[in-house]
């Protein structure tokens, strides 16, 4: 049993289960005490004879041999201690830009305390023009490969400039049909401006929606108030209900944020579920605002929330009333391939953000930053500074901790913006973010087993 690398196996206990995750195949096993001890010793690099001797002190010899055979069989099937997959590195480079995040408007009718787009809002308050929107569609269709194109209507609040969204969608449908491509659209909105006409349009065009709602009224209103200071909770919930009712509760995510103000965010998830919304994601805040940002010492409280969430997940599943929590969804058998897992979100490579004036950036979180300016979509010959995307992509390979991390094929190699804003530079690791990610992943793996 040579060439065993301890970073290729992750052993963890959760509730009453002992689990072994094989990193290079992404296979998951449950083991008994003998299996746990055996794999632990093998991971430490002990040879077969040593292992057999050590384990025979605690277990019957025949059982030890039996377990050793099981490991061998799984190893032969590449499900345990599997080798590092041989990748075609050419497939890791960008194929072309297939996804854009459009800042339909930098304006917003809300003034959320943690908003990461405020930086740009302070610089320029503006709507995107039809010229920019049209060029964005043309730009995505310039790339000949692949079938799907993705466009996210973002802001600010994109519905402040709804006529542009409608025009872009109509144009994109027509152009993509000619080019034999398909556009998938997502709208990220605070929901406060959803009117019947808009709802009809979103449903007719099959547009996915990401709806911002943080949970309990007092939590939501504390962070998400209108510009006049009034809370947005009631309007938001009223409109979300109307929208979801009209689309039979399909094609949506409730996307909330939790901060230091609601470390007990399980209560917010329960509140959201209580409203009848059963597809959700509650994300840790990304901010440098000290009073809101999460700290190392908060982790045990956050962990407790995820534990409660696991219990609720199982309870509701058993009662035939399941819900989707974005970070607990894992498809290990038919999910994304290794190339996808290593190319991550594709910021600056497959995916760009477009500011209202047509400026291009690697992703929505870098918009407005001169250092990450990649060109302008309105230029007659759009020249994209691909070197910025390559810098972001390259930095992800330089993070020291990643090659030995068991979650390296599950995390999408982390978020470049988090590294930059929280860790200090693109090559740094945002440790708190990684800790949270691994916390959620262990629970997601556990949920595969029960």
């Amino acid at each position: 049993m040579n060439n065993i690398r301890c970073e290729d196996i992750h052993m963890f206990k959760y509730k009453d289960m002992q689990m072994v995750y094989d990193v290079n195949s992404s296979s998951l096993h449950e083991v008994d005490n003998l299996g746990w001890d055996l794999i632990g010793l093998m991971q430490n690099g002990d040879d077969r004879e040593q292992i057999s001797t050590l384990l025979s002190r605690k277990y019957h010899y025949d059982q030890v041999e039996e377990a050793l055979l099981e490991v061998r069989e799984l190893r032969e099937k590449k499900l345990l201690f599997s080798p590092v997959p041989k990748l075609d590195k050419g497939k890791l480079s960008s194929v072309g830009i297939k996804a854009l995040c459009l800042f339909i408007s930098h304006n917003c009718n809300l003034g959320c305390s943690y908003c990461f787009t405020r930086r740009e809002e302070e610089k320029t308050l503006s709507h995107m023009s039809w010229e920019v929107g049209k060029k964005a569609v043309d730009f995505l269709l310039e790339y000949e490969g692949g079938y799907y194109r993705e466009m996210d209507f973002f802001g600010g609040e994109p519905l402040l400039n709804f006529p542009l969204i409608r025009r872009i969608v109509e144009y994109a449908r027509e152009k993509s049909y000619q080019k034999k491509k398909e556009f998938n659209f997502t709208l990220t909105t605070n929901a406060s401006l959803l009117q019947d006409e808009i709802i009809d349009f979103l449903n007719r065009e099959n547009i996915n929606v990401v709806l911002s709602l943080d949970g309990r009224p007092q939590i939501h209103d504390l962070m998400r108030s209108f510009k006049n200071g009034n809370g947005s909770y009631h309007k938001t919930v009223e409109n979300i209900k109307k929208l979801l009712h009209s689309r039979e509760n399909k094609n949506y995510y409730i996307r909330g944020t939790f901060t230091r103000n609601n470390l007990d965010f399980y209560e917010d998830i329960e509140h959201i579920l209580g409203l009848g919304f059963d597809s959700l994601s509650l994300e840790p805040v990304v901010t440098n605002e000290g009073s809101l940002s999460l700290r190392e010492e908060d982790l045990h409280v956050v962990e407790r929330q995820y534990d409660r969430l696991v219990d609720l997940y199982l309870e509701r599943k058993e009662k035939g009333n399941p819900f989707l929590f974005y970070h607990f969804i894992l498809d290990m058998e038919k999910g994304p391939c290794l190339y996808k897992r290593l190319s991550g979100c594709g910021a600056g490579m497959d995916y760009l953000a477009v500011a209202a004036d047509g400026s291009l950036y690697p992703c929505h979180q870098f918009v407005g930053m001169d250092e990450f300016y990649m060109g302008n979509i309105t230029d007659q010959q759009v020249s994209v500074k691909r070197e910025i995307g390559e810098r972001i992509d390259g930095a992800a390979w330089q993070r020291e901790e990643c090659p030995a991390c068991w979650a390296r094929y599950l995390c999408g190699r982390g978020c470049a913006a988090s590294s930059y804003f929280q860790g200090g530079d693109l090559c740094s690791t945002y440790k708190l973010g990684c800790d949270l990610q691994k916390m959620r992943l262990e629970r997601a793996l556990y949920l595969q087993a029960v």
Binding site: N24, S25, S27, L28, E30, V31, D32, L34, G35, E66, A67, L74, K78, L79, L80, S82, P83, D88, L92, G145, G146, Y147, Y148, E150, D152, N184, T186, V210, Y253, R255, S281, E283, Y326, H327, I329, D331, M332, E333, K334, G335, P336, C337, L338, Y339, K340, R341, S343, G344, C345, G346, D350, Y351, H364, Q365, L410, C411, G412, G433, Q437, Q448
Partner: protein, 50 residues
């Protein structure tokens, strides 16, 4: 097997036919502030994809 129960057989060893990059871009989905790919779908079985 008595001591090891395989719960999920992962797909990461299958690399030859993969890498078409037709899958959804992570940040177009729900998170917007954290990159997670384990929960994305593989579209390779979609007959519309090239």
């Amino acid at each position: 097997m008595k001591h090891i129960r395989t719960i999920k057989k992962g797909n990461l060893q299958e690399v030859d036919s993969k890498g078409c990059r037709e899958c959804q871009t992570s940040c177009q989905s729900a998170c917007k502030t954290s990159c997670t790919v384990g929960n994305q779908d593989c579209r390779q079985s979609d007959e519309k994809a090239e």
